[in-house]
């Protein structure tokens, strides 16, 4: 049943309390082993990822843009779904950590020949990889791979179906923290296709775990999951109401194929109702920042004036993505110790 009240606010039950031993992502000492989802990770760990990323931001500005943390390690990018931005930033992050990187576009090769995902994994394990960075169109694919891979291999989820895209969420948290310093007291509005968005699911979990005051989702019912309020969000159907006093406005990418289907009548009507313009942004907090995971459909999700305007932090998100991915990779490989980032 769809929630009828717009203000229902139930927190997801498993966000903070999961005991480490039951979480596939953590080792027996509660340290990050895989990075599959924000679900089940506590505030301390998410903060550690942000702090570690902070310590890596300087690396990109050096003449020699490398640190030797993952020297001799082999990282394989396993992309079962095409991606430019995410794959490139993962590659760059791995290279800056001095790892050897192998990028495989599998959608076209093995699976079309009937090789099962497990067979593909076994073959790659035989090549002595240390980490898989996985993108797959099935929700749960990263969990599946982490469950079935050899114990010495770490798995980082680069997006699985509609489930989770945790590094994207963490780079968004990093961007928010850079601009807002802390999460408590923040009102964050997420606008657009929540239903199909792994980014939104991860952002909602991360924001609630990090203590944001209020997470809102704004979309027509066709783009909202059933029982969306159970994720710990307030639901709005009206953009201006939803971004009222918001400190952060996150616009989601709208896949072109949703247009003209029964999901939405047209780009025109979508932009009329949910497109972000300077005028509409007036409703938000005066210091509000505008984010977008990219790539932007200009004139659909937002005006160019907003995308290129002073409140937009969209390009910063991309560059912070490298530092955040460096942090996650080095933590999952056990090459940074807790608190190292603070020294």
């Amino acid at each position: 049943m769809r929630p009828e009240t717009k203000t229902e606010n139930r927190k997801a039950p498993t966000v903070i309390d999961s005991p480490p031993s039951e979480n596939l992502q953590l080792d027996n000492n509660g340290r990050l082993r895989h990075f599959l989802s924000i679900d089940g990770l506590n505030r301390e760990l998410l903060t550690e990822i942000l702090d570690t990323a902070e310590s890596f931001t300087g690396v990109s500005e050096r003449t020699v843009k490398k640190v030797p943390l993952l020297r001799g390690k082999v990282i394989t990018n396993l992309f079962f779904e095409t991606s430019t931005r995410t794959r490139t930033t993962f590659e760059l992050a791995a290279k800056r950590l001095s790892a050897d990187v192998l990028s495989l576009n599998i959608s076209a090769s093995s699976t079309s020949k009937g090789e099962t995902l497990l067979d593909t994994l076994r073959n790659l394990e035989a090549m002595h990889c240390d980490m898989f960075v996985v993108r797959h169109n099935d929700s749960g694919a990263a969990n599946f791979i982490a469950t079935h891979t050899a114990p010495h291999i770490s798995v980082v989820n680069a997006g699985d179906g509609r489930h989770s895209h945790p590094t994207q969420a963490m780079l968004d948290m990093f961007t928010i923290r850079r601009h807002k310093q802390k999460f408590s007291g923040l009102k964050v509005a997420i606008v657009g296709d929540i239903l199909h968005s792994r980014v939104a699911r991860s952002q909602i979990l991360a924001l609630n775990t990090l203590g944001a005051e209020e997470v809102r989702v704004i979309a027509p019912k066709t783009l909202l999951p059933a029982d969306v309020a159970s994720l710990g969000v307030k639901v709005f159907y009206d953009l201006e109401q939803g971004i009222q006093d918001a400190d952060v406005v996150i616009m989601l990418r709208l896949q072109r194929e949703r247009m003209g289907s029964a999901m939405l009548p047209s780009e025109h009507e979508y932009f009329q109702l949910y497109g972000l313009t300077d005028e509409r942004l007036e409703a938000a907090h005066p210091d509000a920042i505008v984010m977008h995971p990219g790539p932007i459909n200009r004139g659909v999700e937002m005006d160019s004036q907003v995308a290129d305007g002073p409140r937009s932090v969209i390009l910063q998100q991309v560059s912070f993505g490298i530092a955040v991915r460096m942090a996650v990779m080095s933590m999952a490989m056990g090459t940074v110790t807790p608190g190292a980032a603070k020294r």
């Binding site: 099962t116 797959h136 099935d138 929700s139 969990n143 599946f144 489930h163 999951p225 029982d227 994720l231």
Partner: protein, 428 residues
């Protein structure tokens, strides 16, 4: 299998819901038939005596939906492997949906399945005839010929009829000849590519959802056509409280409507999928606790007349993939009775009603003289120890499919003997 012509089963608590019997009675069997209750016929000397002290003696279970995967998918299971597993579960009659390869839309395929099961001799496999040729939803199958070839009922399996005119004609034709039609109610557009109940867990895991309305919309349509055509419809594998309520009302209004539920729907909910447990990937999907509780109530009140296993054995690879890419279904023959007995332990059903939902209930739906211990009926008998605890292990499962979310769980209540047509086909 032991061959014995005359068997007596003594000292057991006999539960035979069809004949309203529940008490201590001895049973006598000759030439594969039940020949006497309590007093043996004059001059009866048993070749075999089964002492069923402290045990329950009931009719062999009748399971309304069992995929044996033969013909066509023998890498998953065979008639032999699955009827043997059925015998271990106390089941002596299994109904096989028509989505085999080739499809059960000709008498030859139907007869092959039926005859082969009788030759092997563990249990009776009754083919369910295809409602439309090739299950394609266009042309009616030769229903009368299929009925003569041992198909007690017709069904379009898990391929919902898209065209309501074809459905109307199929139900009219079936009604002409008094044929019951099994329907798995599902609106294929609302189902879309969903693989999990559209609800809280679906929202969190981002798996494509199947709304409750996918079932209730179909039930509403099918009930309207049942009223229009007068066809007897049996709804297979209910999953939602809403559909249950609609069926209750239809029954109340006198429509010839029955329903079954798969045993796992009475014990699992959407929450069990957390962590992407592919052994909980079933169609219809596991729903909410409210749905589960209502289905349990529907069973107690009799709106749902039968519990089936909805057995779907798979090879390991079919479940070893990311959740949406795994095959749905549970290997469930060996847990049908224990999961039903768990409802007795949970206080949902009394023992006699539980037995009825596994024996006389499904037999009545099929319109066959099975699931009863009447004099002269086939000696299909299940004997179980209600107190015996045991653990389900893959090694000890006889089904070729080990795909079950109940692995390593402890159950109370275990089959000790199964007799099919007067032969002991399983003994623990």
């Amino acid at each position: 299998m032991t061959t014995a012509n005359k068997i007596e089963i003594i000292n057991g608590r006999l539960i035979d819901p069809a004949n309203n019997i529940d008490g201590q009675h001895n049973l006598h069997i000759e030439n594969g038939k039940i020949c006497a209750i309590d007093q043996p016929p004059a001059g009866f000397t048993p070749d075999l005596t089964i002492d069923a002290s402290n045990q329950i003696v009931c009719p062999g279970l009748v399971d309304l939906s069992v995929r044996v995967r033969e013909p066509g998918q023998e890498h998953k299971a065979t008639i032999e492997s699955e009827t043997r597993a059925a015998a271990k579960g106390g089941i002596t009659t299994i109904c096989c949906p028509p989505d085999t390869n080739p499809i059960i839309d000709t008498p030859a395929v139907a007869e092959m399945i039926h005859n082969k099961s009788l030759e092997i001799g563990y249990a009776r496999a009754l083919p369910i005839g295809a409602l439309t040729q090739g299950l394609e939803g266009n042309q009616l199958s030769e229903m009368v010929a299929l009925t003569k070839a041992a198909c007690p009922v017709m069904s379009n399996a898990y391929v919902p009829l898209a065209n309501t005119l074809v459905e109307r004609r199929a139900l009219e034709y079936a009604a002409t000849f008094g044929i019951t039609v099994f329907i798995r109610p599902e609106d294929r557009h609302l189902r879309d590519n969903g693989c999990i109940h559209e609800g809280v867990v679906c929202a969190r895991l981002g798996l494509p959802g199947i709304p409750e309305a996918a079932e209730s919309v179909a039930v509403a349509r099918d009930l309207a056509l049942a009223a229009h055509t007068g066809c007897t419809i049996h709804f297979h594998a209910l999953s939602t409280a809403t559909a249950l309520e609609m069926i209750r009302t239809a029954q109340h209004n006198g429509l010839p409507i029955t329903a079954n539920v798969a045993a796992h729907q009475l014990h699992l909910t959407e929450d069990d999928i957390d962590g992407f447990n592919s052994n909980c990937h079933v169609i219809p999907p596991l729903r909410t606790k409210h749905d589960m509780d209502e289905l349990r109530q529907g069973l107690a009140t009799g709106v749902i007349g039968a519990i089936c296993s909805d057995h779907q054995p798979h090879e390991p690879d079919a479940k070893e993939a990311p959740f949406p890419s795994t095959m749905p279904g549970i290997s469930a023959l060996e847990t049908l009775l224990p999961l039903t007995l768990k409802l007795v332990q949970d206080g949902v059903l009394d023992l006699a009603t539980a037995v009825a939902r596994l024996t006389s209930g499904p037999a009545e739906i099929l319109g066959l003289p099975l699931g009863q211990l009447s004099i002269g009926s086939d000696a299909d008998i299940c004997i179980f120890d209600q107190e015996q605890s045991w653990q389900l292990s893959a090694d000890e499962m006889l089904s070729a499919g080990k795909n079950t979310p109940f692995l390593n769980q402890t159950f109370t209540g275990q089959v000790t003997h199964t007799l099919f047509q007067g032969q002991v086909v399983f003994q623990s």
